[in-house]
Symmetry: C2
Subunit: 185 residues, 2 copies
DNA sequence: ACATGCATGTAACTAGTTACATGATTCC
DNA sequence: GGAATCATGTAACTAGTTACATGCATGT
């Protein structure tokens, strides 16, 4: 009987539990923190914030500012907090298939020459390594700055996830590259 | 200068290099093989096949059948093969962010009770384990049936990818669950 | 002078899902 | 008799991206 909303809605509800109050601040927070696991564009944020208010999940407080456009601060209502909590406690029906373009290409590469495929994988591996390095530096930053806060641990869980999955994919690249090279001979 | 198409287009071009000729057969092949890495619905397949012909990447041969709707068989043109090959050799500009709902929830769970979060992760882990088992049985099936064929190795690469990423995610669940439980005490 | 940051938003587009419509055949 | 399989497709919808429009303040 509980109404369900889309992912973007829940993401915004979640962010509104932090100190982010405006569309701009929300975008910034996501770009700085969740960016590697969840992106969001202004084209989604502003219309969704509007819908949040229409659905009674949040309220707006508009402050006029000279020169600048009005600052619109959003606050969760009791209904909004409840909707968020319900969603947080809901297990996933089923894990979605993650679309992977490299895998798709590999699947169709059997009748191709191996060189371009090897190049493709090498390039992929390099990008993954860069991503891994990024995760490591963010991790170092958090571990330093938020040593005291217990909030940091949740942050680190998501980063650990990113690192592990990325590492596994890099390993796969190595093994696959090696195998393709021996097959070739 | 080379025209680019969308992913669905390339997926269909790739499948048309196999013996699949009709929309129905394409759907079946994807459901049986690529399903875990790339899904596709009839709502995409049939309109895209039509566009393929319009763009000169494929041709149709329609066979009237009594009772049944016409059977429409699609064949790649030289242009289609070229477009596919160009795409296959193209490295990815950048690896996309994979959206993960569990990670999104975890990120917003810091101020929640830990029990539902633990339950969420346990459920996630179980689904991942089922997925892993599925990969293993498909792998066993391929290794048996296609021992001779060198096509099989490309099949197995994608499966290996799936297994490694799934395994890494399961490990992450274990570590995170353990950590959350000690934090709780 | 110009770029960047602050701050709002919309319009047009692309991608993808779901449900529906049709209708014969074959298996249980 | 009913479900599943073969086989085509469309319409309505949801989600998400990209490009654009506006305009002040601050730093280089």
């Amino acid at each position: 009987m509980t109404k369900t909303y889309n992912h973007t809605t829940y993401a915004l509800l979640g962010i509104l539990t932090t100190d982010c109050r405006t569309g701009y601040e929300i975008k910034q927070l996501i770009d700085q923190s969740l960016n590697h696991f969840w992106k969001i564009s202004y084209g989604q944020i502003y219309p969704t914030l509007k819908k949040l208010v229409q659905a009674g999940l949040a309220t707006v407080e508009t402050t006029a500012q000279d020169g600048k456009p009005d600052r619109k601060e959003y606050f969760l209502t009791a209904k909004g907090k409840e909707a968020l909590q319900t969603w947080l406690e809901q297990p996933m029906k089923q894990i979605p298939t993650e679309r992977n373009e490299v895998i798709l290409k590999l699947f169709f590469s059997r009748h191709q020459r191996t060189e371009p495929t090897l190049a493709l994988l090498q390039d992929y591996k390099q990008q993954l390594q860069e991503r891994y390095a990024t995760y490591q530096s963010i991790e170092a930053l958090i571990t330093q700055s938020y040593k005291q806060s217990q909030d940091a641990s949740y942050w680190l869980y998501t980063l650990d996830f990113g690192k592990r999955v990325t590492k596994a994919t890099i390993d796969w690249c190595d093994v696959t590259l090696a195998d393709m090279q021996t097959e070739k001979e």
